[in-house]
């Protein structure tokens, strides 16, 4: 069964450092989502791509976060510089257009 792949699974960094997360969606899924899940809360959408285009990045802190999906397949989410409050689980999800979202295993980020 096809799955969404994410790496790394865990990342520990010091504040002010740069971090990057990678996501490979299920083959053929045009829509890709990045969510942030703070401990004890539900996931919150950071950015949504339709193919290589950004559809919604209204909740992305653009002063420090960036996301790209250059060829409309895999995607990278970057944080520079990382802050203590960025410690969270970063989830990637993909879906065929307009259908159920399938989530990857997530990257758990700890900022010291």
């Amino acid at each position: 069964e096809a799955e969404v792949a994410q790496s790394p699974r865990y990342k520990i960094t010091e504040k002010s450092q740069a971090v990057a997360f990678w996501c490979d969606p299920i083959s053929g899924h045009a829509t890709l989502y990045w969510y942030r899940q703070i401990l004890g809360q539900g996931p919150e959408l950071l950015v949504q791509f339709q193919d290589e285009s950004v559809v919604d990045d209204s909740q992305l802190p653009k002063d420090r976060f960036s996301a790209e999906r250059l060829k409309g397949v895999d995607s990278t989410l970057k944080i520079q510089p990382a802050e203590l409050g960025d410690s969270a689980m970063y989830l990637c999800a993909s879906s065929p257009q307009g259908r159920t979202q399938y989530f990857g295993p997530g990257t758990r980020l700890t900022v010291l």
């Binding site: 004890g40 539900g42 339709q50 919604d56 159920t100 979202q101 989530f103």
Partner: protein, 112 residues
């Protein structure tokens, strides 16, 4: 502002008990409501509900939606320790191009 609220936030039961998890929402242009189960990793899809009064069932899990009163319930009968997880409710609005608005989740612990 679109909002999803789950209750209770946490629940401890014993194996064999039946539990009911609640999800209420305030969303403009509702499209669907989804339930996910999250163990120590990514959320996995359980149900998608779009119509009032039609029960969705999968094994010991079932869910129903009330679009008039703006809520959904997730029932788990004959609970097992493997049901221990966070249960997330999410709502999709037609104006949000697939974006999911999540509740904060209900943490269920099933004791032997």
């Amino acid at each position: 502002e679109d909002k999803v609220v789950q209750s209770p936030l946490s629940l401890v039961v014993h194996e064999g008990d039946t539990v009911t998890l609640n999800c209420s929402y305030e969303v403009t242009n509702f499209r669907s409501l989804l339930w996910y189960k999250q163990e120590k990793k990514a959320p996995t899809f359980l149900f998608m509900l779009t119509s009032s009064g039609i029960e969705k069932k999968s094994g010991r899990l079932s869910s129903i939606l009330d679009k008039k009163e703006l809520f959904s319930i997730l029932n788990i009968t004959a609970t097992q320790t493997g049901d221990s997880a966070i249960y997330l409710c999410a709502v999709e609005a037609t104006s949000n191009t697939g974006k999911l608005i999540f509740g904060q989740g209900t943490t269920l612990q099933v004791k032997p």
